[in-house]
């Protein structure tokens, strides 16, 4: 089974926001951005721009009918800066004109005078001066203080990870069309229907029921369209003020320069192990580079924080995590949502310990893998743990982990101009929104009189294949062909208060709701058919492959006829259902609870070759075993796994962002490099773990969007191994990514 839209994609017929044919009177909006990272606005003169050719209006903060506020989790972010400037690229005004070209020309006529102040760009520095978005979170397990004395080995160090640009192919964009009675219809490329509808209503100062947000599909999102509402709200504001349709489409460089990234973190770690390599103690501090506003950073931090122990059982632990406020664009969600950072630091600590112990890191990893009955730091006891199963399956599938490591060691002994590196990375990834309230989904299933079915949910299709999964779930529940099911756009008038499609929960929550709605419809059809057959037990009626069965006997009553007659008999053929994941919670005072419904597991082995003359490298192979429960669609899941891993390999290796000393981004599309077809590992084998049942999600499946991202860290750690086999006289590298420049400087500086 493939993505429902695939045939249209391949023929260029899928309609994205910018492909909606222009309405009569369409205007184009562009933002006027702050040239400095910190300071105050002394003078802003828009009069010349207002009079420029083709300009319909220039708007600033005071033109906003509602509060000038779009903060996602806490109300700290204005749509337009009015006095204080918090980051370079912060919107100050908006020009709306007949064409984008004219709007861009008019931008140059806006006169701005600012008083520049020195910004803060480093999280540790921000933390020291008290610039934080919320009080630090601290979690403890066991008795850390007395555990240290029992350790044979103790390692300690600092680590750092860099940012990552989402580089969704379709940049941020929205089209707003004003309607009768002060309503506003917004077609947007966003992941959070409910939240964005709310932001738009607030800014326009109208009730939410007057805002209809319509989302057909996104050209990629990866978390980058989940929380920062600027680019959906701004065109709606212009449309409201001018009473004309307005479109805003970011150019790639503006998108790179002003949108949030995966959060960089600074870490301090300390790990203690016994003489056999059992981890006894682990202490870690996480300083999150959040940027100017809280945006969704606190939720991301929460996930990093809850995943600091990754796939390992750690009896004594203490973690501190804090979100630091800096003068950069607010960072936001990105596939993995903080988990990759939490995993990165413990993997670094293990790497460090393995060197001190003189063993391969995989030995320590295997020894400490989670098992049934183990407790996670927040007090949750594990069951149905697949960490070891995945590891062993990989061992079997990949030609033996220990043997592969030996081969690499031999290669490195024999070669000086190239070195190889290999790394095994296990994954244990909690599924659910860490923010309990978001764990809800709803669906509306309609059967039309001709037997065709439409399903609406709060899930947003962004290439991850959620619509196909929902179509399959609905088709199975009704036992009809999936071609009979159409998954509708995500629309706030049909589905209220929809949670973001993120945290890999899109199919879990919305699929479950869709199943519940279809199950109810199925029951109604059973009742109707029983009545028709004069049979007293509706449970003995079934539908199989579009044919009605009575007590397991096939009738000649077909789906279309059944529906047709059910309609004339006045059966309710529309149904709405609601699902809330049961039992997930976390007590923020004690940091104890059950924040996740279940866990996704996996293990991978990654091999790289480093060119020690040039500092360049190739990722030679990735073998991965991943647990997706009972796969809803093998094709889609495999695609998600491959895509996530390559994206993470990009983050681990070539994806880097440079700022100047004043917080201005230097990186643009011509220097932000994402993996290309030739960089993709020559060998790439994905095995889906068999016989994994998951009672906590729809049809025994498991979420797959984010967890495999962790495997991509294998490229980083394999490179570390290769670098170390060339140079041991330096400290262990502990800064992700390893770009060719960083690799080279490690080798030769």
């Amino acid at each position: 089974m493939r993505n429902v839209d695939m045939k249209m994609h391949i023929r260029g017929r899928s309609v994205f926001v910018d492909d909606i044919p222009a309405q009569e009177g369409l205007l184009h909006a562009v933002l006027f951005l702050s040239p400095i990272a910190k300071g105050t606005i002394e003078k802003l003169d828009i009069s010349k721009a207002n009079k420029a050719e083709g300009v319909a209006g220039v708007f600033v903060g005071k033109d906003i009918p509602g509060p000038n506020q779009i903060g996602h989790m806490i109300p700290d972010q204005p749509l337009f800066a009015e006095k204080e400037i918090q980051y370079a690229g912060q919107p100050i005004a908006m020009v709306v004109a007949e064409s984008k070209h004219l709007a861009k020309k008019a931008l140059k006529l806006i006169e701005l005078q600012v008083k520049e102040e020195e910004g803060v760009f480093e999280p540790r520095e921000a933390f020291k001066s008290g610039m934080i978005h919320a009080a630090p979170r601290v979690i403890t397990a066991g008795d850390l203080d007395s555990a240290w004395s029992k350790c044979e080995y103790i390692v300690e160090g600092k680590a750092h990870n860099g940012p990552q640009e989402h580089f969704y192919f379709e940049t941020q964009r929205a089209l707003a069309v004003p309607g009768e009675d002060d309503t506003m219809k917004v077609y947007a490329s966003v992941q959070s229907p409910g939240a964005f509808q709310h932001h738009i209503a607030e800014i326009l100062n109208i009730p939410m029921h007057k805002v209809e947000l319509e989302i057909r599909r996104l050209g990629g999102a990866f978390g980058g369209k989940e929380s920062t509402a600027i680019w959906a709200v701004a065109p709606a504001l212009a449309a409201k003020l001018l009473n004309r349709p307005v479109k805003m489409v970011l150019g790639r460089n503006e998108d790179i320069a002003t949108s949030g990234k995966r959060h960089p973190y600074e870490f301090d770690y300390k790990m203690g192990l016994d003489k056999d390599g059992k981890i006894l103690a682990y202490q870690v501090d996480l300083y999150q580079q959040a940027g100017a506003f809280a945006d969704i950073s606190l939720a991301v931090l929460g996930r990093s924080f809850l995943h600091v122990s990754s796939s390992y059982f750690i009896p004594n632990l203490k973690a501190m995590a804090v979100s630091c406020k800096t003068n950069l664009p607010s960072n936001n969600a990105f596939r993995g949502f903080g988990v990759p950072q939490g995993v990165f630091v413990i993997e670094t600590a293990i790497e460090h310990a393995s060197e001190v112990m003189g063993v391969d890191p995989s030995v320590i990893k295997r020894k400490n893998l989670l098992q049934d009955g183990d407790f996670l730091p927040y007090g949750m006891q594990l069951e149905k743990t697949n960490a070891i199963r995945c590891w062993e399956e990989l061992d079997r599938r990949s030609g033996g982990i220990a043997r592969r490591i030996k081969t690499i060691e031999a290669y490195n002994k024999a070669n000086t101009e190239t070195k190889k590196g290999i790394s095994v990375v296990p994954v244990c990834f909690g599924i659910s929104f860490a923010q309990t309230a978001l764990n809800q989904g709803s669906a509306l299933a309609n059967i039309y009189a001709d037997g065709s079915v439409s399903v609406s949910t709060g899930a947003v299709e962004m290439g991850q294949g959620v619509n196909m999964k929902i179509a399959l779930i609905a088709a199975k529940a009704l036992s009809i062909g999936k071609d009979k099911v159409r998954v509708e756009t995500t629309n706030t008038s049909r589905i209220p208060n929809a949670s973001p499609t993120s945290a890999s929960t899109g199919a879990d929550l919305n699929g479950m709701a869709a199943k519940m709605a279809c199950d109810t419809l199925y029951k109604r059809l059973q009742v109707f058919a029983a009545k028709k057959f004069n049979h007293n037990n509706p449970d003995e009626i079934s539908i199989r492959d579009e044919i009605v069965y009575l007590k397991s006997a096939k009738t000649d009553y077909k789906w279309e006829q059944l529906i047709h007659e059910a309609y004339w008999d006045r059966t309710d053929l529309g149904c709405r259902a609601f699902y809330a994941t049961p039992g997930v919670y976390i007590d923020r005072k004690t940091e104890r609870g059950r924040p996740f419904a279940y866990y996704s597991y996996g293990t991978s082995i990654t091999e790289v070759t480093l060119d020690c003359i040039r500092g360049t490298y190739d990722i030679d192979s990735v073998d991965v075993v991943h647990d997706v429960g009972v796969s809803l669609s093998h094709n889609i899941d495999k695609g998600q796994i491959e895509g996530a891993i390559i994206q993470a390999i990009g983050w681990s290796t070539m994806e880097q962002i440079k700022y100047n000393s004043k917080g201005k981004m230097l990186t643009a599309v011509n220097s932000y490099k994402i993996p290309d077809i030739k960089f993709c590992p020559k060998e790439f084998n994905v095995y889906i773990l068999e016989n994994s049942l998951n009672p906590y999600a729809v049809s025994n499946s498991k979420a797959v969007g984010e967890p495999p991202f962790i495997h991509g860290l294998g490229a980083y750690f394999a490179l570390v191994r290769a670098l170390r086999s060339f140079r041991k006289d330096k400290p262990l590298p502990a800064s992700l990514p390893i770009t060719p420049e960083k690799a080279f400087m490690y080798l030769y500086e």
Partner: protein
């Protein structure tokens, strides 16, 4: 008035020749299948095909980035967008993409279909390698490429069962369900098109060769300027062997250069080395001359040509002159070319028997990236001694640098010690700066290593560094 064919329709327009093709397709023609991902030639989402006739009336197609291509350049050509390869059902290429689930969000997919169509049209052997090369400018953020690779492999295998006769390629692809039937009539239609020149007669007109540099730098300005299109100079589109050198006309694209029989015979390394320049959809347009005049200190082609001792023939202001490329550059983006002059051709002397050459480029991403540092070497040996030596280095000075003063190394035996001295000498001649491609210190250390890399590759000189040696 510009005239061209878009898919199966003949079009005429008075739009400015500097109008960008993707804007024209989407805004004027409402063909929304072509996607814009970056508008700088970096992603491939906007890939379309441009077909032109040669003097024999044969049509040949190139994949191009429509986001940096002015419509003046495609005047008289056949443009094929995704809408133009669609048939009743998925075509053979589309089917391969479907079968292997090589599309997720779908935004990059039309571009991938067109690049694979270019592969089918242009690859002599339908090899998978050619398919991968054809896709080197098509990024995808969703799939991770594994599925795209599998689709391309399947396509290559399927096409290998067909006739590889290049003279019948269009017919073969019509038969194979790759192209829709209207392609058969396109050559006839193009012949009758009779488009007049898109170039401005003004002496001050901006020269556009491939446009791959200019339309990234100043697109908004160009759509309001007078333009002169080098691609109209069919007389400058040639590669000729002449005595003991090869002459390359200024209108020659990098891909035509890379695939030329003469180039492959006399400079066989170019086939692979030129692949390190940009990507297929750019190399199909970008010219050698454009790379030279662009005067980027890091220009790959320029660095290659410098070491090869190329010279350029300049026409204009009533005279023709020839100048050695290593005398051409004066200072950052300053060079010996006056207003009214154009580069007509580039001369590359053959390498004498026994002379060796090597090109090195290190960039953050190996493919489709600007180098941090690049370098070429041309070396003649006498036994194990250096007899003559030319080294160029990019990214380490304000101009593409020819390292001077290498005569001192003549007669020196090729050994670790000599190479070490040479590397140190080269380092003493450079002055790189910090920029997004890397720190000055990195570039300095890197050029040193690249000198070693040259000798390591050509002579197996061991690079002694680090532990274990």
């Amino acid at each position: 008035m510009l005239k061209f064919i878009v898919n199966d329709k003949i079009l005429e327009t008075n739009a400015h020749p500097g109008t960008i093709l993707i804007d024209y397709l989407r805004d004027e023609l409402k063909l929304y299948g072509t996607k814009e991902g970056c508008k700088e030639g970096e992603c491939g989402a906007c890939t379309v095909l441009a077909g032109t006739l040669d003097d024999k009336g044969n049509i040949s197609y190139k994949s191009v980035a429509s986001c940096i291509l002015p419509i003046g350049d495609v005047n008289g050509s056949h443009i094929v967008s995704i809408e133009g390869v669609n048939q009743e059902e998925l075509n053979t290429i589309q089917k391969a993409i479907f079968d292997y689930s090589a599309s997720q969000c779908g935004f990059c997919t039309p571009g991938i279909v067109l690049s694979l169509t270019y592969f089918a049209l242009s690859s002599s052997e339908f090899s998978y390698k050619d398919a991968e090369d054809a896709l080197d400018g098509n990024l995808c953020r969703c799939t991770g490429y594994v599925a795209i690779r599998n689709a391309a492999k399947a396509l290559s295998d399927l096409l290998k069962t067909k006739s590889r006769d290049m003279n019948k390629r269009i017919d073969v692809l019509l038969e194979a369900g790759v192209l829709p039937s209207y392609f058969a009539q396109i050559p006839q239609k193009l012949k009758k098109l009779n488009a007049s020149s898109a170039s401005s007669p003004s002496a001050k007109a901006r020269i556009i060769a491939g446009g791959t540099d200019l339309f990234v730098q100043i697109p908004d300005q160009l759509v309001e300027s007078d333009l002169k299109f080098i691609s109209e100079r069919k007389d400058l589109n040639y590669i000729r062997v002449d005595g003991n050198c090869i002459r390359i006309g200024a209108a020659t694209s990098l891909e035509d250069f890379r695939n030329s029989c003469a180039v492959n015979k006399y400079f066989p390394f170019m086939k692979d080395d030129v692949l390190l320049h940009s990507s297929m959809i750019l190399r199909n347009k970008a010219t050698l001359a454009g790379n030279i005049v662009n005067a980027s200190p890091i220009g790959d082609i320029t660095i290659m040509l410098l070491a090869l001792n190329a010279s350029i023939v300049i026409d204009g202001n009533g005279k023709t002159r020839e100048i050695a490329l290593d005398k051409f550059y004066k200072d950052y983006k300053k060079f010996d070319l006056s207003e009214g002059e154009i580069i007509k051709e580039i001369l590359v002397p053959f390498m004498n028997e026994g002379v060796l050459y090597n090109f090195e480029k290190v960039s953050n991403r190996k493919i489709l990236d600007i180098a941090a540092v690049n370098s070429s070497i041309l070396i003649e040996t006498n036994g194990m001694d250096i007899a003559a030596l030319r080294i160029s280095a990019g990214g380490v000075a304000s101009i593409p640098l020819m390292i001077g003063g290498l005569d001192n190394f003549r007669g020196k035996e090729i050994s670790y010690e000599t190479v070490n001295k040479l590397a140190e000498y080269v380092v003493s001649q450079v002055a790189p700066i910090d920029d997004v491609r890397g720190s000055a210190n990195y570039k300095k250390l890197l050029i040193r290593q690249l000198i070693f890399a040259h000798f390591n590759k050509l002579f197996g000189v061991k690079v002694c560094a680090g532990e274990g040696c």
